[in-house]
Amino acid sequence: MSDDGGRDVEAPPIISVRELTVRARDRVILERVTLDIPDRDVTGIIGPSGCGKTTLIRTMNRMAERSGGLAISGSVRYRGQEIYAPEVNPVLVRQKIGMVFQRPVVFPMSIFDNVAFGPRLNGLDGDELEAIVLRSLERAGLLGEVGSDLDRPALELSGGQQQRLCIARALAVEPRVLLLDEPTASLDPIAAQRVEALLFELRREYAVVLVTHNLQQAARVATRTAFLYQGRLIEYDETKRLFETPREKLTENYVTGRFG
């Protein structure tokens, strides 16, 4: 474990997954996955469809248990604390570890109310709420575009704007970690590029975990990348190394597009 380019040595990981196994009724979805997510950085997760990427990040903020019939074992620690410990409240886990989905899920309310949704759950209102909404929209690079008209229905925004609104909404809860499940998959290239640039910006303040099917995207924004195959973590390394000199044959086949 000393060959990760020295990055791990600088700071403790914000999330550490150990021996994580997820079973559905008749099959294993994730098998003994172990990896560390560094703070203030972008970590990519790649792998063929159905390999368990979504399931993996959903176990990291306790959303996985919501899709019925999954048995989760092993350990996931957030800043050293076991998030599956019985006394831990999943609601608080999700406030610390935010999530953005593949298709933008906009609430049928105004732009302001969308972003304010999370903070309001915690009783914020008035000037404080407004400040946090504006700050979040700013961080998501949306404030300039939507301008002063925050009372517009959010459903009127374009797909790319909607996805950045979802990121703003997640940021408004002030999480430390942002999990994104193929956030640009439903966007056109220009909108996707903007979201990608935003994620690269966000790594200054957040730990960003990016599931993507787009290998170039992983290469562009992720410092480290994990390759999952059939529920197992095959390789996890500096992105550049993983793509250029993969240690595993499976990884090589996948990153060179020779898969099947």
Partner: protein, 307 residues
């Protein structure tokens, strides 16, 4: 940005013959199209002619004889107006809607959000069964429970409670449907922001479900308005001013039922029967227009909400 539309204008130009020449096959298809269109129009007329005919039949007998007294006076013998029945109808429907909405809504939300699947299945089945029970049976049930068992006799409260038994499955079913059909992605997104379930329900699901819930409430009201059987055994009858929850009351459907079959010497009562029918039609139409308006407003707001 200029979009390339592929072929230029020349590709679109057609000479006259290409558009005017009608082959026998096409002519046959056009004729068939005409027949189908007339058949559909006929079916449409068959559905709506009786409705309009009935409204006409009631209106010509009711409308010319409306006076202020129809609304303000109490019926005595062969004279007076519908004041007692109007009061009674509003009190009964108001109370029954309040009961049916509170119970139906809570049960519907429970079924959609909290109940284990087996319980939800039983609840839905029970709702459907209750919706199918004949009104007269519910009337007898109400009579035994709210008139005899409680010892109240004929009361407005008993009538409203019985009527709400009849109305509740319609609110329940639509509330269940409304909350069950909020897209799962919306719930996921709310929970991922750290919402507790009741927060999700109140702040996100409720505004999305509201228009559907309102449809159910309006439907229940329209059904309740048209019922006579559950009330005659429970609310009794009274053509004097309404005095309270524990006294009997009359209602518009009862006026139709009682006054329609009177001897010709009591012609004023026959007119009152038609006027009561006319008022009921007006109220039901108003309810539906109100519902339409609300639904349009909300649909605009929810447009684009993905699955």
């Amino acid at each position: 940005m200029i979009r390339d539309r592929g072929a230029g204008p020349t590709a679109l130009a057609a000479d006259g013959a290409e558009l005017a020449a009608v082959s026998p096959r096409l002519r046959h298809r056009l004729r068939l199209d005409g027949i189908v269109r007339w058949a559909l129009l006929g079916a449409f007329a068959a559905v709506f002619f009786p409705l309009f005919d009935m409204i006409y039949w009631v209106s010509v007998r009711a409308v010319p004889k409306f006076t202020l007294a129809t609304f303000t006076e109490y019926q005595v013998g062969n004279a007076g107006g519908l004041a007692a029945m109007i009061e009674g109808t509003f009190v009964l429907i108001g109370l029954a809607t309040a009961f049916a909405t509170s119970i139906g809504l809570i049960a519907g939300i429970y079924t959609a959000e909290y109940a284990p699947p087996a319980v939800a299945r039983i609840g839905r089945l029970a709702g459907n069964v209750l919706a199918g029970i004949p009104a007269i049976v519910i009337g007898y049930f109400g009579y035994f429970l709210f008139a005899l068992y409680t010892g109240w006799g004929y009361t407005t409260l008993g009538g409203a409670l019985t009527l709400s038994v009849l109305m509740v499955p319609f609110v329940y079913r639509t509330a269940d449907l409304a909350f069950s059909s909020v897209p799962a992605s919306q719930r996921e997104a709310a929970l991922a922001l750290g919402a507790r379930r009741h927060q999700y329900l109140r702040r996100l699901a409720w505004p999305i479900a509201l228009p559907t819930v309102l449809t159910g409430v309006f439907l229940a009201m329209a059904i309740g308005l048209g019922e006579t059987a559950p009330l005659v055994y429970t609310a009794g009858w009274s053509n004097t001013p309404w005095t309270g929850l524990f006294s009997p009351t009359s209602f518009l459907t009862g006026a139709i039922w009682l006054f329609y079959e009177q001897p010709p010497t009591l012609g004023a009562l026959l007119t009152l029967a038609f006027q009561a029918a006319f008022l009921l039609i007006v109220i039901v139409v108003a309810l539906n227009l109100g519902l339409q308006w609300l639904a349009d407003r909300y649909r605009r707001r929810l447009r684009g909400l993905g699955a």
